[in-house]
Structure formats: C-alpha cells, structure tokens
Symmetry: D2
Subunit: 493 residues, 4 copies
C-alpha cells in the first residue's frame, strides 16, 4: 500500500475477496472468544440504543476490533475507523469489516476503515483525519453535522487532533514547526494546516458535535486528566483504561499472552534460561514478568515507584537499575509509559544480538531517534518488524517493531478474550455517554462499579467459573446488595 488511497467508501483496494474471506473466518472464531461483546449484541440488539450515534474510532484495526465495530453497528451506531498505530492493522480484518458480512468487493456493506499494515506517518494522520469527515453520511441523511458525535480512542490521537484543530482555528492558523518539534508532530501540523486551508472552522464544528470520548489506554487517559486539569478538555471523557476489567486484564493478562507471542514470531530466541529485563512493574510489567518467568527466563525488573518496586521484590524478582545489569541481559522489555527508558548508552552495553522490545506505549520508551542518528549504526532488516542494528561497538541488537508496540507489530496484539473485556467496557462507556448524556458533564470519569462487575460477569461462563451467591444474611453482614456492587471504590483488586 504505497500510495494514499482515495477517499471512498472502500478506503483501499482489495483485489479480490480472498483477504476479506480470510478475515471473516477469523472474525467468526474471535466471536467465540468474545463472550462479552456477543452478550451485549443479544441484550441490546433489539432496542438499538446507539441509533443515531456517529462514532469515530481510532484503535488498532485487528480482528478483535472488527468484532467491536460490528457490535457497535449491531447496537445501531454508524462508524468510521482508523488504526492508532502504523503497524498494528491486520489487513484481512480491515478488508472483512469494509466488505461486511453480506457485502462484496464491488458493493461493500460494512464500515469505512482507513487503516493498513505499514502506514507512513503522513498516511497515518491522513487516516485519522478521515474518520472525522462525515460529509458523505451527512449528505445521505440530509443532515447538517460535520463530524462524529462520539470518539472511541486509543492513545488519544483522535482526541488530540480535535483539540489542536480547534485551538489552531481559534488562533487563526497553525504554528510553524521549530527545531524542537518532533518528526511526528510536524506531520500533525501539516495535516491540520491542510485542513484549515480547506475549511477554517471545521474542527470547531467537529468539537461542538461531540458528546464525548471513551479512551482505552493509560497514556491516553493521562493526557485527558492533564487537559481537564488545565481547563482545556472540550467534552466529557470516560476513562475505560481504569475499569478493573480493563487495566487489570488487558494490561496484565493481555501482555502476558502477547509478549511471548511477539518474541516468538519475531525471533528464534529461547526465553528459558535467559536473562530478561522488564522496565516497569505496573500492570503491563507484571504481565510481562509473569510470562517470561513462566517460560523459564530469569527476570530482572526496574521501577521508579517504591511501592511497585517492593511488590516486584515480594513477587520474587530481582529489582535493579538498568545500568547495573545491562551486560547480562538477553531480552530487554519496556512497559513504563515513560520516555527515554532505554537510551543509546544502554543499547551499546547490551550483549550481542540481545532483543529489545517495547510493550509500553510510544516508540520513545526506547530512544529510537537517538539510535537512528547514531554515527556508525547500521540497520539490517531481518524480516518485517525485525531489525538488526549493527552498532559501532561491533555488537548488534535486535529491535522489534522499530520500537513501537511489538505485541501488535510482531504478533496480533492481545487475544480476543482479553479484548472482549476491554471492548465490553468500551461499548458500555459509549452507551453511557450517548444514552445518559446528562450524567456526564465535561470531565473525566471511570465507569460505575456495577458496570465493571457486569463486564466480568459476562465472561465467567465461557471459563466454566461458578460464582458463589451471597445469602441475604451474608450480604447484610458485610453491608452490600446481594447482586453487587461488592467493593468500595478504593478497593484495589
């Protein structure tokens, strides 16, 4: 996909149906692993509570996301979709969603998707821009609106585009890039500059249409709290990330599954007996460390927070600064959500052909920019998303997915069952914003606990779990309703 695809209902060329057919097989299998979403289709399909909703989605365009998209549609919504990562799209899933279960290549009956595996940064932001262009739908409806009324976001790029678009429109123009502007933000500026040239009030109208955003990730949520603290948040936001059934499941159990999957697909490196270093012992790091230990690796952890550090120690892990053990490491994994965690000086200190992998968020966890500008460093592609960097020291390191999320770039992301938890939260959050709008003035919210428990409840039968029921007497004794919610808000699980 080397050229920008045309703006059309079918956003990219599918030469024949084979890609979509393969994707449809996988979607069908994934549905079996996503009991939460399937239960919502059954519960809410008849009443169509999302009728009238126009959802702009920016989230890895995988098979699981296909089941999410088709669930939103089954509840009555209209949807436009982009990926939130240049490498994470599974093309067959995108094709299947575009074609739709009943459609054909020539008459697609699905959802407009703007995503493919291996986008350039320009293509990525063009795609993100596209999900805010609801002119075709407005024309079809004879409606006045410009954009969506809901955003479903992962990492906050869609939300960022709206906020900066409106900001620059208010300021009368897009600022020039400076030396300090990152390569990616230059593309954002260019994208918005082109938009303002076409229509100088577009983002202001888009922002006005929006009822809110539901955000998937730690990083995105962090941005939202900062925006809100600064008084700049434009619409209500639901923090899906901090639902227990998201953060404690997707982040931990998802990474536990997909980190070794990505390592295996990318390399032939045995984990058993090796020294693996995990930077960060939050939920992501906990899942990573457990997975690596489960494969017989010796895991060393780093942490900045003394509480998490103490947890890591109590869980039996060695806790050290990266500098202290750099020469022993075979597999280096970052999962912090911070930047510059692995710097060039670290890369230079690693063993020959050590593997470097990021499961945090952005590619700046590993300082890829500095590596790319390191004199004497040479990049050799072993296969797509696996690069040997030959360093001036004479040693090499293997960098996965160019420092971006390797569980998406080298594997297929979290498995469906885990994503079913996250995405059931997403759908419930979209329902909250759309059907209980008044309950959410501008601000950042987590879902109420009874919905969090509902998400869990919808996933128990598939695992053969029997839930014990409180007697009324027992419920009274601990002061909770028999049917829940069962815990105080500050309970940590």
């Amino acid at each position: 996909m080397s050229t920008l695809p045309a703006t059309s209902a079918l956003p990219f060329k599918v030469a024949d149906l084979s890609l979509a057919t393969a994707g449809r097989h996988q979607i069908r299998l994934a549905e079996n692993e996503m009991p939460g979403l399937m239960a919502l289709r059954e519960e809410f399909g008849p009443s169509q509570p999302l009728a009238g909703a126009r959802i702009a989605g920016s989230l890895h365009m995988t098979v699981q996301t296909a089941v999410l998209i088709e669930t939103l549609v089954a509840l009555g919504a209209r949807v436009r979709w982009a990926s939130c990562n240049i490498f994470s799209t599974q093309d067959e899933a995108a094709a299947a969603v575009v074609v739709g279960p009943e459609g054909t290549v020539d008459a697609p009956a699905g959802v407009p998707v703007f995503a493919w595996k291996g986008e350039t940064l320009e293509e990525y932001w063009w795609c993100t821009d596209r999900i805010f262009d609801w002119s075709a739908e407005a024309a079809a409806d004879g409606a006045e609106w410009t954009g969506p009324n809901l955003i479903l976001d992962d990492g906050g790029d869609a939300t960022l585009l709206v906020h900066h678009g409106r900001e620059f429109e208010a300021a009368g123009g897009v600022p020039e890039a400076t030396d300090a502007t990152s390569a990616e933000f230059r593309v954002v500026l260019d994208t918005l500059r082109a938009s303002l040239e076409r229509d100088a009030s577009r983002w202001t109208r888009v922002a006005g249409d929006l009822l809110g955003v539901t955000e998937e990730t730690t990083t995105g949520v962090h941005r939202l709290y900062e925006l809100h603290a600064a008084g700049e948040l434009l619409f209500p936001a639901i923090n899906v990330n901090d639902s227990v059934t998201k953060s404690k499941f997707d982040n931990k159990y998802g990474i536990r599954h997909s980190l070794p999957d990505g390592l295996n697909r990318a390399t032939d490196v045995l984990m058993g007996g090796k020294v693996a270093f995990v930077a960060g012992y939050g939920d992501v790091g906990k899942g990573a460390a457990e997975a690596l230990r489960g494969q017989g690796a010796r895991v060393i952890v780093s942490e900045i927070d003394p509480i998490n550090a103490l947890q890591a120690a109590m869980d039996g892990f060695e806790v050290k600064r990266l500098e202290s053990v750099i020469g022993e490491i075979d597999i280096l994994v970052t999962g912090t959500g911070n930047k510059d965690v692995v710097r060039v000086e670290h890369l230079l200190g690693l063993k020959h052909l050590a593997v470097v992998a990021n499961v945090g968020h952005f590619d700046n966890e590993i300082d890829m920019a500095a590596l790319e500008s390191l004199p004497g460093a040479e990049r050799v592609e072993i296969k797509p998303q696996v690069h040997e960097w030959r360093l001036p020291s004479g040693r090499s390191v293997l960098v996965l997915s160019e420092g971006r999320l390797m569980n998406l770039g080298n594997a297929t992301g979290h498995p469906s069952f885990v994503m079913s938890n996250s995405f059931t939260n997403q759908v419930l959050a979209q329902l909250e914003l759309y059907t209980r709008t008044d309950a959410y003035p501008t601000g950042v919210y987590v879902l109420p606990k009874h919905l969090d428990e509902k998400v869990a409840r919808l996933h128990l039968d598939a695992l053969g779990v029997e839930l014990t029921e409180l007697t009324p007497d027992q419920a009274a004794y601990i002061g909770v309703p028999v049917e829940g919610p069962y815990k105080v808000d500050h309970y940590r699980y």
Copy 2:
C-alpha cells in the same frame, strides 16, 4: 493463666526472667527484620513527636507488636496494650515488653500489657477494658484525664467498647441480653455493666479525650465506615488497612507466609498433591492460593464478586462453589471476612480428616457455633489449637484454632518484615493524628500517598532493591514530581 490477673503495672505473673529473656532475644532478631520501624526510631527519636501521646493499643501481642510498641515509646508516647485475639499472644513477647529492655521482674521498666495466650472471653474483655484505665498514669502526672488520647486498633474491639460505653452511658444503662445476643456480646454487655456501676460517665470522658483511632484490618475499617455513614463515629479514624503497603503486603504476602506455617505446625498434612479450597480471592485469598500452589497443592477458589472470580480464573485457578467440590477437598481455608462461609452441611461433606482453617477474621467464617451444638459431634484435642471433630457421619474433620485466625493461633502470625510495613503505617498514622490534628476532622481517612510510598521506600534496602530515579525530563513527561508521589489515587497496584 487460669485466673484473672491483678490490676498492676505487671499484669501477669512472670515467675522468673527466662520468659522475658527469650522474648528479648526474639525482639532483637525481629528488629533486624523490621527496617521500617527502626528507620522511624532513627528519624523521629531525637524530636520525640509523640511526647504527650497516650496510646491504648489492641492488637495481637506478638514479637512484632513488641517492636511496634517500643517504637511508639521511642517516639515519646506512653502506651497500654491488650491483644485483639484470645489465642494470639506470644507470652514471651508480652513478658519482654512488660519487663522492658532495662527492667527486671521486680522493677519492670516497660509497658503495661494485658494479654496472654488462651484467654477466656471474660478475660479478653477485661483486658480490653484495662487499656482505657489511665488512672495510675494520670495520678503520676497529676493530670485530669481518664483514658488515652489515641487508640491503635485491630478489628475494632477497642473502638467498639468506647462507642458502646458512651452509648449506654447516654442511655442511662446497659441493655439486657436477648436470645439473639451472641455469647461474646453478652460478655461485652457484662463488662460495660460493671464499668457503669463503678463510674457512670467514664466512657463519655474517655471518648472526649480521644483524638482518634488508627485501624489495622478490613473488618475494623468496615465497621468504621458504617459508623461514619450512620453519623455515629465519635472521633477521626485513619484506615491503615487500605494503605497499599498494608493491604497489598500484610494481607497477601503475610498470609502467603503464615498460612502454610500454621498448617505445618498444626498438622502433618502434605500440601503437595492435595486439593485445597480457598474461600475468597481478595488479598488474603490471593496470598493463600499462591502459597498453596507454591507447595504443589491443586487450589480451587470460590468468590462472590465476578471481578475477583475472573482474576482467579485468569491466574489459573479453578473457581467453584464450595458445594460443588466439597467431597474432593483435603484442606479448606476461609479468607472472606464474611460469616457462615463454611456451614455444618459443608463440614459433613468433607473427606475424613480434612483440615479446616480460617485466615479471614472472625471465627464465624466457619460456623463454629453450629458445629458445637451439632448432636453427635465430639471434639478431641490432638494438641492445643488442633481439634479433631468426630462427626455423626463417622468421619472427622480437623479444625484449627477453634475457627479463629489459625495463622496466629497455630503459627506466629505474619512475619516481622511484613508487619514492619503495616506497623510503619500505623506509626505514621498515629503521628498524623497527633501532630496534624486539624487536618483530620471526624471521618475515616487513608494515609496520603507520599507516606504510603515512604513506607515502601524504608523497606527496599533490606531486600537489595535498587530504585530507578526519574530524570526531571521524564518526571515532567508523565507529570509527577521526581520524588513522588507517582500515582493517581485510584491506581490499583
């Protein structure tokens, strides 16, 4: 200790110094395992911030508690102490604390302690009453106060006595027991009735003296929130239980250690290969399940909360109702904080000589009252705290610690290192109430996060943990101070 000891500075008879000497040895070893408390002595000893504090403590009188008590004293406080469980006192620790590091049997220089292993209920509540009698100290100071100005509580019995005492004094008398009154509450009523007879305004004055209480346990905290919700809480309370370094450490890692310890000391039952059932998958249940799995047991878990149930399943445990698997169980552990979790019908369904053990809170997790009144059931003492109950079915079960906390009754409770975390929180909480009184109007509080992180920080060196430090740039990137606190309040660890 079969008779009520005299009210005296030395609350029970120590025939010679051997018990106190043995306790002092253990206290010295425990100090090496309690780096948090020792660090507080070093930091705050010189400034004596607890000078003037009068602390009534009700918490298992173990070796670790001895280090806590002596830390409070080292910070300037005066202390009186009772245990919060009839079986949990380690007599040598009590003796050593009474005698004090410099004292003798004839001239004890330590702290008045009212606790011994194997109290009757009458003795227990008498002891609890004693810690509120500061008349000797008041006389020595020429002061007017009746009781303590701070409570350090575990389970809430001390707090309960004050609240009921004041309530009955306000009502003009203690109500009669009814058929529905539990055996234990009858003793509470009797204890208060005697108190009111001696002094009809004592508890009202005690309540008036109090600056607040710091509470150790889930159960006690639950009572406090209920009292506050009902508008009946008499003074501020700090919920120590929900400090991360308490609930996530003491409850989980403490039980992980002390459950198998108690099982081993009580019985000769191999855990490996056996079926262990753990009721409840909160922090206590998580620690219990991990410990049993670590010994090769096959662990089945029960839960009422779908989120915790899903966690248990994702952690690889079978999740079933107790009824479904009762006939397979070799070791049955309760850690729910609820009542009637194991009922007589369950006990009758267990395998011959199955072990029944409670690490939750009260002895009503297992319905001991119903067992005791079961026709045809016979109790045979194998050794103290280990009883074979011969059931009418012809089978027997082994009940540990008469259904009370077996990790205290059959072992020595949580190990010192874990308790150092909990107790460092306790001391910091006492400091908050005493030195920052205005910051805590009547209500229930958790400690601020920077203190929670401080507790963790004080325990890292002893484990050889290296903490990674944020650069100012990284701190700014994620929006936290370099020195912490690092997490939002709702972060779950």
Copy 3:
C-alpha cells in the same frame, strides 16, 4: 511446490536468491543461539574428524538443522538431507543450505536437500529415498559405494526404509498391500517396489555400507530397541534421545517454548483462564503442562503410568481420564507417543471450537483417520495447518497441523538454543560411530556420560552460568573425578 522436483544437486527450484538470503540471515542469528555446535566447529574444525563420512540425514529441515548440517560439513562430512515430516520444512532454511554461504542459485555450493513445506506422502518418501542415492558423489570420487556410511535419523523413517528395502530384496520382492495396510505404508511399499525394479540389490549394498545410525526421538529409539530385541538390527545405533541433554532439554524445555508458540500462531485463543488437557506426563507432557500453567491455564493431565501420574499430582495438576473431563476442555494437547489417545468419541464431546493439538509424534495420537471418515464431518481450512472440523453434533473443533506435530507445523519447532543441545549430542554421536567404530558393535547405545556433561558444559557460558568446581578433597569424598563424570548411570536428574 506442486510437482516432483528434478533429481539434481539443487533439488528444487529457487526462483531467485531472496529465499536463500532470508534463510542465511536466520541461520546467522541461530548460530548465536547454538553455542554447542559453534564450539564443536571451533574444537574439531581444524582436525576434520568426519572427513570421509557420508551422512544421510532425515530430520526436520529447519533453520536449526541448517546449523547442524553446516557443522557436520565443517567437521569434514559430506551430507544429503531430507525432512522427517511433510510440514516441518522451513523453505528459506532449505534454500540457504542448498545455496551454501558462498554459493549462488546457479552455482550452489551447499548441501543437497530434498525437502519443502507441504509435501505429499509420495513426495516425502521420494525425498527419503533420495538421501540414499550417493551415485553422483561416488562418480565424482571414482568410488564404489552406493549409499551413505552414516544415518542421522529422527523418528526412524530413514532407518526403516533401509531395513525394509534389504528385507524385501532378500525376499525377492515387495509384498502387496492388504486392507490392513495404512495409507502411508502403501507409499513405502510403492517407493521400495520402484527401487527394486530399478536395482534389486541396492538396499542390501546400502545396508552394508552403513557404520550406524544416530536417532533423535523417543519413537525412533523405541523402534530400534524392538529391532535389536528381534535380532533384526543391521548396524549399531546411538540413542541420542536418551542423553540427558536431549530428552530432558529438547523434549521438556523445547515443548515448553514451542507449544504456546504454535498455539499462538495457529489461533487467537487466550490460554489464561482456559482448561487445557495434556495427555501424557513424560518429558514432553511436563514441558507442555508447565508452559500452559505459565500462561495461566488450568491444566489437567492424563497418564497411564502411576509414577508419572503421581508426579503430576505432586506438581499440582489435576489428573483425570480424558473421558471424565472432556466437556470442560478448551485446549487438548497430546504428547504420549502412543496411538488413538484422542478418538472420535472424544472429539465429539469437546466444547465448540476447542483446539486439538499434537506434540507427541505421529498423527495417530489423534485418530485423524477416523475423523476423516466420520460421516457428516466437514473440514474447513481457516488457514494453512489450521482446520475447523464441523462435526455432526453441530459443534466444531480446530485441529492443528492435521494432527501432526503442531510445534513444527504451526510454529518453527524447538528454538535454536534447545536444538543446540540435541544437535551437539548428534554430532558427538556421529563422531563416536565414525571415529570409534570398534567400540560400537551392532546394538543400541546411549552416549557416555562425560559427553552428555560436555554438551551441557558448552551451553553454560551463553546463559551466564558459573559452575562450581570441586576441590580434590571434595571430589575424593564423593568418589568422582574433579572434572566429572559426576553421577552414576542410573541417576535421573
């Protein structure tokens, strides 16, 4: 690869160098993970102890095998190679070996390889036949020999072909197939029939040339012991499988790595929280069970041997007959080395879309033949090596690699580091047969313990392992040489 390739030095068409180049990259990375083989090149390369050796290899043609082949060549041997499994060839590895590090497509300088991914049974046995045809090499040397002087075998197919070839030649012809003859054995008979027609004494001469075979697997070794017990073994055999550094490493740690890898690549099924059933608790089953538990699955094991069954129980696994729990299983793994372990009645009892995977040896662990002839069963290809079987019950099961070894068919087999252990044993065994021929009269042998320890020793540095050295005094105390071997032969590790 749909037509039989021509008999040539380059056994199959490589359109351009890209496949070989990709393979060479992977071989280079694998060399970094195979310290045992690289150490042998360093130790024995100069002295060329395998000069004159002609090795017919039948073993999965993977990247790791490429490093093995090139090690044999580096020690002086000439080699011809086939795969021992129709699905296990990695085409890029085969291409790279054929081309050789210095060769080109037009002037290959490597080793003749007869293997590609997805052979038919006819092609498979044609390939196996080809590794015994050393006429081109004989012509080049002006030599009289017909075939190889050494076999390196995996599963015993190459050895079987020689034994049956010689047997039928002695009998004067190949017997007719009967109704009881399996589909695969019919192909063997056809292959030999064609051979006898061309040359009626070829296999007799081949057998006469052979100094022996080194066998990789449990199954192959089992056949060899049976042949020897029946007095029919034609040449000495070294049982590489039962070197500790093979059976306890390849079988256990290899499967621990490659089973989840295969499951992940084949399906999107989360292992965490699922019920996984592992048939067999030998080394393969132990590795499988550990891997699945390490991913949070609940693992149930079956066993026929009471000792292994007791081990499984003591390791914390539930041990049940497959029939007893069939309806609970999400992932069903076979690793027994026996046949008919999973039968059609089991497949019909599984949950919808349960995954069925074999890591034992032959595809008859799962009764694929019966499934294929089940009326009403329909096979849908999800993707290569992943088939949904729609059953008459209305449910489906997902069968991986058509019941053959899924860690090879769906993943890339054991990782290099594990194979380095196995293959270092193979090279040492080839060296024993070729350079110490007199020490091995016809019979089946394991490698002497000092070589087994040597294999381990060559892999320690790469893992940062420090070995403790005995003092002469300590060695004398336990009666072993300071430099080993350290254990009695019956020691079980």
Copy 4:
C-alpha cells in the same frame, strides 16, 4: 534425658502415659496420610510374610517411622529401633511405639526403641549398638542367633557398625584414634572397643546372621556402592533411595515441604523478597529451590555438574558460585551430600543475621568444626536448635540444628504422605530380601520397576488421581504389558 538409659524393654523413662498418648494421636492421623503402608497391612497382614524376620532399624524415630515400624510388625516381623540422627527423634512417637497401641507404661507391648531428641554422640552410638543386641529375644525363643537378620538403614550408620565391628574383630582389635580421626569416629572406635572387650566375635556372628540391608539415603547408598566396588560388602543391599517413588518424591517433594517448615519454626524470617541460595540442584536442591520460589524468594543455585547447572538455569534460577554472591544472601541452604560446601570464609561474608541451614546429609556440609574453633566466635542459643553465632566481623549468622538436617531438627521431617512412599519401598525391599533371598546375591540392587510402580499406585486414590488404562492395542503398539511396567530402566521421569 541427660543420662544413659538402662538397657531394658522400655529404653527410656516415660513418667506417665501422656507422652505416649499424644504420640498415639499423631500416629493415628499419620496413618490417614500413609495410604501405601496401610494398603500393605491389608494386603500382607493375613499371610504374615515377615514372620521370623528380626529387623534392626536405624532411621529418624518420628511419627511416620512409627507407622513404618508398626507395619513391619503387622507383617510378622520383630523389630528393634534407633534413630539415625541425634536431634531427629520425636519423643512422643518413640514413647507411643514402645508402649504399643495396647500397652501401658508398666507393661509396654510395643517395640524396643533406643532414641530420644538431643542425644550426645556417645548416646547415639550406644543406641545404635543396642539394636544389634537380640539376646533377650534369643533367650525368649531359645534360639542361637546373636543379632538381627535384616537391617533397615538410613545413612548407613548401622551398616557401618557391623562392617567395622567385623573388620576389627578379624584384625584382633580396634585401632587407636589419630589426630586425623574425627570426633564422631572416635566414639565409634570407643563403642566397638567396648564391644570387643565384652565379646570378641560378636560382630562376626552378627554379620553372619544378616540376609541384607535396605538403605534409605543417597549418602548411605553411596557408601554401599563403594563397599561393593572394594569387595568388602558383607551382605546384599537394596538401594531404596533410587526407587523413583523415593528419590524423586522424598528428596524433592519432601524437602519442598519441610525446608520452609523448618525455616518458619526456627526463625521469624520472611522468605518473600529475600535472596535464598541453594547449594546443589539434585532432587533435594530442586525441592528446596521450588519451595523458596513458591514463597516469593529470589533463589540463586550453585552446582558442580554442568547438566544439573543447565537444568537450574532452564528452570529460571540464577546459577552462581557461592563466593560470587555471598554478600547478597539472606538464607543459605545446603543440599549437596558433599562436605565443606559452606566454609568459614563464607560465613564471614554473609549479611548480618543471615540464616544458614542444611538439608543435605551430614553436618560437614557446613564446616561446623571450623566455625566452632574460630577465634572470637561466640555461640548464643536463641532457642533449641537455633543458634546465633557472633562472628569476629561484628556480624552474626543464625545456624539451624547445629548444621545437621534442619528439616528434622527444626521441623518434623518430611510429611507422612511423602514418607509413605519411601517407607512402602522399604517394606517391599525388606520383603524382597526376606522372601526372595536367592534372587539377591551379595551386591547392591534397586527394586524392580513393577514394585516402584506399585508404590505409586497405592498413593493415587488418596489424591483423587484417575489413572488412564492402556487398551491392549495401545499396549502392543508401544510394546508394554497393559498392567506395566511401562518404562525402560534408564527412563528418568
């Protein structure tokens, strides 16, 4: 028990029945955990196959051994017993065995036992001498024999006494001790010198009576193989240690249970988060490492054998020489079977109050002799079997059980279920020697595999294990009988 007890049927003073009654309770509970022994009583009790057997037993006199002794008696044998360790006797078990289920203090009806907790070396060897004195029994029977006809040994001390006794009798006298003679061997010499003075041909007659010995431990077995290799073994020996159901169960799963039990009873040290060092990764070390990891310790292992070292690495443990990490260790465990593993230089390098514990065999794993003679070292008894050694460095270490087996000295040894496996092997081995005498000429034997499998089989029901049965067709396919044995002799489990 500070004086040598009188030679009598009741070898030591039992003031009243309370000790024996407590022991009898525990024996009854242990019987529930020893299904193998109870099944043998049921199978062989009626036929009395050990009628006429006179067994001298030297094995830790615990509750489990009581069940073993009473099983031997139930099969018809007469028995005399000593412990094989000065600290390991459980006095209540000894008392109960002496008194017997039906006896009284005044009329004991059990077995003569010569063992109590805390023997001196002189007492220990006196006790061992006593089990060879069957004069009372001979007199009662009017028989001519001097001693037992079978030995049941643990560590080989009983066997050693016979061999040295006969050797010195043949030499005409006991040699003088030299400077190189160990303190313990001086006691052996004194014991034999006294015996020769009383009766100069006693041990020659004892040796002549003996049909053989069954030996429990690695160390004892090692001595037997050495004796046999030197041509000095006097009678056949069955190596019970190397039954799979012994070495792989008792050594590994027993230590997994009893190591943490001993640590917990001895100290209040949390294992979680601590650095534990395990010297030796044989079966004992594997069990120790698993137990410590299961409690959240970070485990470092040392090994001399490269195969075991590689196993440790592949199991995820750091493998280092003790010297390399000595300053990081909190808990130091030896399980090697060798001497001088922990030397004074190591003890001086440990952290303050590090715990030092031996679960190998003799107290020379830790060089206690050198510690005892270290100038400036001071020993403080914290409690029995727990000593603080204050070192000249100013630091202390805690040494458990004076360097002897701490799982016996600080805890109660392996749990009953594990010992049931070992002891069922012992009984079967005694049966082999006594009833199939001709099958065992002088030499060292392991039990035939079908008996090893039988031991396992007798323990499955108690764990709820379902064994899968081979079909005749499957059995034929892998070439084993349907009912076993299933494995070749070199199979490693």
